[in-house]
Symmetry: C2
Subunit: 394 residues, 2 copies
Amino acid sequence: MKVKGFYAAAVQAGIRYKDRLDLGLLYSHIPAAVGAVFTRSVVKAAPVLLGMERLRAGKAQAIVVNSGNANACTGEEGMRMARSVGALAAHALKIDEELVQVASTGVIGAQLDLTPFAAAMPKLADSLSEDGFDELARAIMTTDTVPKIASATISIDGAEVNLLACAKGAGMIMPNMATMLCFAITDANIDQPALQQAVSSGADLSFNRITVDGDTSTNDTVLCLANGAAGNPLIDESRPEQLALFTAALHGIFKDLARQIVRDGEGATKLVTIRIEGAATQEDAVNAARTIANSPLVKTAFFGEDANWGRIIAALGRSGAKFQPERVAIAFDDALLVEYGFGLGKEAEAAATQVLKNKEFTVTVGLGAGAASIEMLTCDLSCDYVKINANYRS
Amino acid sequence: MKVKGFYAAAVQAGIRYKDRLDLGLLYSHIPAAVGAVFTRSVVKAAPVLLGMERLRAGKAQAIVVNSGNANACTGEEGMRMARSVGALAAHALKIDEELVQVASTGVIGAQLDLTPFAAAMPKLADSLSEDGFDELARAIMTTDTVPKIASATISIDGAEVNLLACAKGAGMIMPNMATMLCFAITDANIDQPALQQAVSSGADLSFNRITVDGDTSTNDTVLCLANGAAGNPLIDESRPEQLALFTAALHGIFKDLARQIVRDGEGATKLVTIRIEGAATQEDAVNAARTIANSPLVKTAFFGEDANWGRIIAALGRSGAKFQPERVAIAFDDALLVEYGFGLGKEAEAAATQVLKNKEFTVTVGLGAGAASIEMLTCDLSCDYVKINANYRS
């Protein structure tokens, strides 16, 4: 799929490993509106700090991204390196360096060596192509086993508008190699505040509702560039119908990517939707869902295909959500397992166990305490998760 | 070791498994002052609810405890069963049933069958002995691989005062089989409010500062009985010196047991003390320690003996604690690894890696944000943890 006026490429720069794509470039023929969300961690990597600074101008024309080194916990020197990487890209593209967003994923605490960036950048810029997005998606992979791409085409005021995005995940964080990154491009003509709103709300409904291991990266970044090449009349807040259309499309691809990230979670064998219903408040719903979704005991039970609802109740109990145990209901897909806080017996458990044999299922928990609900995606915790994370640097 | 006036025993009642001790009894020759702390989970097992009710009287003469069934999520019927178990013990001991504390650990959501309790109780009461405490410690084991006992003898106002306690752990929770239980006995003559204060503060400094997997049980219980048989003049708040002496001894055995619990954590191969220094507030110190201690990525790095300080920084970053990344210092035992937020290079990392090869070590994190500090105990996350928890019910 192509998005008008956008070009991408990736090369093997040898930043940490040989023989793998590790440097990617995304370029718009004209400066584009940019919307972004960054990690909420107190510890922000240099490219994140630089990105937050450059986001203020609301415009970007290129994104340069490397894997192999996160450029995090690298201080002032790291900031200089991030600026230098951006400057190398700007020079090769002959654009203002303030229009370059920089992203990194990889080892924390090691300074970037500029040499491979400088050597690779001219070739990278030369190989930009309308079809390069797949290669970009590959260049940001780390422990991901598959590249993650989603796209949408919609019609706004008669104009064909394209949206295309890639993401990487694996662990929510693996400071050595991983991080959640997402780069989206669209040829929509949309003003920056509207774009930012769509990106922020979209990230909240997608990337902020998944968990692999409960960790948060120093480098998490979602960037969306909109260059207006579709030629549609400008979308802004004065035209809520068109804005809603665009926002829905962007949210759709974000959700698609979020799902792909969890499905490809480190060592994951199951994709599980945790659905909380009947919470007293939205905060309670989030806390209940997050506590269940992150509980090692719940996640190992999923891995073991064990309909162990006691672990779900126990996680609920410590979640901070207000509820009465005797009102709790739990179902695995359509198999109701707990009602009024009581297990429904061997037959119900057998049906639930059958559901657990699937690769994807939904755990619905009714709290009977109010009207708030939420869905969160998680995966199981397998021996492979431990192996991947224990053995990586050895 | 013996504590004057206390008798204990355990039998194979066949509550869930054959051929293992699963029913224990602890008895004082006279009603004893009782101090207790119970799970903070919203979901409290029937014996916990009963125990909280009976704690109000401040007196107890016996504790009856079973493994194999947690009697949790069992509603009104479960409460009747817990009372019945207590009544069976009271009948066999010929004491008031209000003086019996009941504790359970095991499967959540299954009703107790009273038959094995009724059949075993007379024999259990008959076999009470001054030397029975070791057997009691065995009867409460589940996935624990070793019984956990700690004791102390102190002199108060010239009288010899003995303290003896056992605990079980394994996972902070395994609703099927595990829970944190601790039963302590002492012949100290101490009034109930002072005893309760010593138990509460002791639990805060020991059992509330350990984590195996971040989960909390529906059945967690710490009970301490003091029968005054040592004959020391009454310890109460009007005699702070004696109270401090007793409290220090109780805290000592609680800390010892807490350490034993983490060392025997499910699948654990390393016992790790997480020490936070220089936090802005005590709450920040707790949040920082807890987030690091529970991070799957930090715990798998310990398992892999990987001095991966980036994962520690990343966990700090999402912990909610206030700090400036450029002030953070990290050491593994004496090996300083990070200073002013920067890694100290390959040599420092090699020294830290050497520390990780030990079975026990301390990770000290300096935040440079204030004067609050805390220590928390954790263990590594191994493949065996996943296997134990994934395969248990299959």
